[in-house]
Every structure is written in structure tokens, then in C-alpha cells.
């Protein structure tokens, strides 16, 4: 059973309108790499031009924020669910 990546509403137009996708992956980074290879238009909304996750993009494995695990090297196992949740930020200057 592969890893399931949940795709948030704002990004579904760039992922064939799908709400999830499944991949065989050993780490979160690998799953996100598969995701953005299959749906290339997603990449710029998740990663900076330098290839780093955007600061407002949070990734969870099941209910755990990967920042408190091993970030993109966080291992995944079959049946895990990866969620992509934005923090909303902005400002007038």
C-alpha cells in the first residue's frame, strides 16, 4: 500500500483536479518529488526557485509536522498520509 498525498483545494487545478495521489516513497521528500514530477505545475507553489519548501507551506505525515521530525527526510511507510497545509501570511509593506 503506497503513501497517499492529500492535495489541498487551491492546488487541485494543477493536479488534474484530484484531491489525492498515491506514490511509492521512502521519505516525504521522495513523495513530494513524485507528486511534482507527475504534476509539474504544482512545483512552483510548493517550492522556491532554489528548490526549498516555501516558508508558508507545512507538510504533515499523518498528524505530525515534518519540521519536528526529519523534515523532507522524514521516512514514510505504506499507508501513511501526507497533508500539505498552508500557513496564511501577509502584510501591508
Amino acid at each position: 500500500m503506497p503513501v497517499k498525498v492529500m492535495i489541498p483545494s487551491p492546488l487541485r487545478p494543477y493536479a488534474g483536479k484530484r484531491d489525492s495521489a498515491e506514490f511509492s516513497a521512502r521519505t516525504v521528500g521522495e513523495a513530494l518529488s513524485h507528486l511534482t514530477t507527475e504534476f509539474a505545475e504544482l512545483r512552483k507553489h510548493l517550492f522556491t526557485e532554489e528548490g526549498k519548501l516555501r516558508s508558508f507551506v507545512n507538510v504533515y505525515v499523518n498528524d505530525e509536522d515534518i519540521r519536528y521530525l526529519a523534515k523532507e527526510n522524514t521516512p514514510t511507510k505504506d499507508g501513511d498520509t501526507i497533508s500539505i497545509i498552508p500557513s496564511i501570511a501577509g502584510g501591508c509593506i
Binding site: 497545509i85 496564511i88 501591508c92
Partner: protein, 172 residues
């Protein structure tokens, strides 16, 4: 992806956003826009009866600005807040379709910082608050290439007009 022509909101909710901006002045306010998209036939008031994508705001979910270091020119909503807003939306059969925030003593125009921290699809309402009094309110959508925002029209609608186009409202 085609831009949504117009964001529909009741006068009551528009006023609540403006009041929230005044209440938190000189700090930025923020909250979630709960609603839904529709391809309802807009019929006679659009002239040709063509299918036009439309987005309706039916509820607000006020949030606390988590930026206590520079709340006058920044706002931040944590992932936990986002999940809480999404839960509130789901419970009412709605979606989080965007976010609002205020620009104290600045125009209702998105900043570079806003652009850097946005996703397409969401509607971003900005209300300018000058000397504590709410002024212009605008709405924006980030373009697919992230290069800039497109303005989104805000149309103030009464509930009867909304229902006639196929939405069921839950506004209280």
C-alpha cells in the same frame, strides 16, 4: 485556469470585515472566507445566460493575528488555524475559499510580501484602514505563474438575489 468573474458577499459580511479591521487597528486583522464556487446560470442579470463561474462568501471565520512581533504590518495564521477554519467550513457544507486581512494606514493593494505568501485559487480580500476608519475593500487572486495578483470584483448581494442563482445560504 479561468479567473472567477466576481466575488459575491452580503453587505452584512462585508461590513463585518471592515469592522474587524477597525477593531484591531493599528494592528492587522485576519480571517477566513467560507463559501463555495458555483457555475450557476446567472441568467437575466448577466444578459446572455452563459455559465459563469462565481464565488460566494457565506460565512466569516475571524482569526487571531499570530504576529506579535510586527502586527502593524504583518499577519500570520498558523496551520492549526487553517485546519480549524477548514473544519468550521466543512461542518456547514462550505469550503475555505479565501482569506481577508487589513492594511492599517496603507492602501488596499497586495504587497510583495502578500504575493510571496499566497497560493492561486484563494480569494484575498484586503481592507484599508486609515486612522482607525475602514476605507477601500478589494479582492485579489494570485495568477498561475505567481508573478502578480489579478483584481477580483466584489459584488455586494442580498440573500434573495443569491438564492435565485442556485446558492443556498447559511448566513446567520
Amino acid at each position: 485556469m479561468a479567473d472567477v468573474a466576481t466575488l459575491w458577499i452580503s453587505g452584512h459580511l462585508a461590513e463585518k470585515i471592515r469592522a474587524h479591521g477597525a477593531e484591531t487597528y493599528p494592528h492587522e486583522c485576519c480571517g477566513a472566507l467560507l463559501g463555495r464556487d458555483s457555475s450557476a446560470v446567472l441568467g437575466s442579470d448577466r444578459g446572455k445566460g452563459a455559465l459563469t463561474p462565481a464565488r460566494e462568501i457565506l460565512q466569516l471565520f475571524a482569526l487571531v493575528n499570530r504576529r506579535d512581533d510586527s502586527p502593524r504590518n504583518r499577519f500570520s495564521v498558523t496551520a492549526e488555524d487553517v485546519l480549524a477554519a477548514e473544519k468550521a467550513a466543512r461542518e456547514q457544507g462550505l469550503e475555505v475559499v479565501g482569506w481577508y486581512h487589513s492594511h492599517p494606514d496603507h492602501p488596499a493593494r497586495p504587497s510583495e510580501y502578500d504575493r510571496d505568501h499566497a497560493w492561486p485559487w484563494y480569494s484575498y480580500i484586503i481592507v484599508s484602514v486609515q486612522n482607525g476608519a475602514p476605507q477601500d475593500m478589494t479582492s485579489w487572486r494570485l495568477k498561475d505563474d505567481r508573478a502578480e495578483f489579478s483584481p477580483e470584483g466584489i459584488e455586494i448581494r442580498h440573500r434573495a438575489a443569491v438564492s435565485a442563482t442556485g446558492f443556498s445560504t447559511t448566513e446567520k
